[in-house]
Symmetry: C2
Subunit: 198 residues, 2 copies
Amino acid sequence: MPYLNKTAPTPEPVDCRILTAALDLFVNHGFHNVSVHDVQKQANVSIGSIYNHFGGKEGIARALYKHLLKEFEEMIEAIIAENPSSRECCNRIIAKLFEYTETRANIIAYMLHAKHREFLPDEPPLCSSTPFTAMRNVVQKGIDRGEIRQGDPWIMTASIFGGAIRMIHLRLDGIIDTPLPEYHEDLIEGIWHGMESG
Amino acid sequence: MPYLNKTAPTPEPVDCRILTAALDLFVNHGFHNVSVHDVQKQANVSIGSIYNHFGGKEGIARALYKHLLKEFEEMIEAIIAENPSSRECCNRIIAKLFEYTETRANIIAYMLHAKHREFLPDEPPLCSSTPFTAMRNVVQKGIDRGEIRQGDPWIMTASIFGGAIRMIHLRLDGIIDTPLPEYHEDLIEGIWHGMESG
DNA sequence: GTCTATACGCTGATAGAC
DNA sequence: GTCTATCAGCGTATAGAC
């Protein structure tokens, strides 16, 4: 979804204008604080078009969610396809997430911050979606290969990616001022070799 | 806030009934999907009472937030007051969070899951609130003492607590079936000694 | 497919009796 | 302080012309 980054509202197809506007508004004001009229206004479309294309506000949110989920999935699949070690695979996923946080903050914010269960009750929770399952599988394979400590795969996955996800939240909330990629090396070091000094 | 745990609606003071009902509804349906009438009904109070006590729905959310924040803060201060090493302090904080997740899930869910900025725009984000600052200070002291690796305190704090927070999310979302305290020991081990095998 | 105008339900909030 | 009844506004969704 390359077009979702651009802000120019006029020349692009209607669907994209709607999705772009909605993503921006949802992230900045929250799903429930945005009305269909807001989206309509910012996208320079009529309400009728919105209902024709997506069937309503929830339809927009769902389309957005599925689209971004797929993009996420492809990103992770691409990394796996390069066939690095499991550890390197985790490192690269974190690097990509950090990169996206800087360049495509809205996308990350929508996927990570939003409580989709609140307005998309039928969707499974993000953590049980394909990208997250893929991450868990990477870790599982690392355990099987002996690259990663033995233990419950949930703990391992949470331990490996938890710090990175936490930093993304902090960055999106404006607590951290430094671009995340600058922290990548130190973070990785801590994940694999522990936080104990010496 | 011990009374916030009990579910018996009748004999307790009005404020508590309102707060208890609101917490339950907010966590299970989301702030924006709950109307004042819903709270009124579940708390067995009239709408007038709600407006008298809290001035509206947002007032309830704010009271809830401040109350639980204070409780959090006291929990962490109590641990610090026991004067353990910085590492042990972190371990105990995680243990307490895990324990709360099992016994007082609503409280944890409200503090962690909810996007308070969406309906409490004047409140600072959770991560810059006193309890989280306290956690960061614990880590900072650990770095100064040489118990924790040198490095940016934000990375260190995120690395130490990120995995635990991630697991709490997974548990609250129903992805993890096992009570979190059972994972505590393994998680701690991984934090300090790294995820690398051997 | 796109638009405008309109309907209708719900929600937050108030007024005023008790 | 507590309650009931009521209001005004917003936000979703539809109807129907173009």
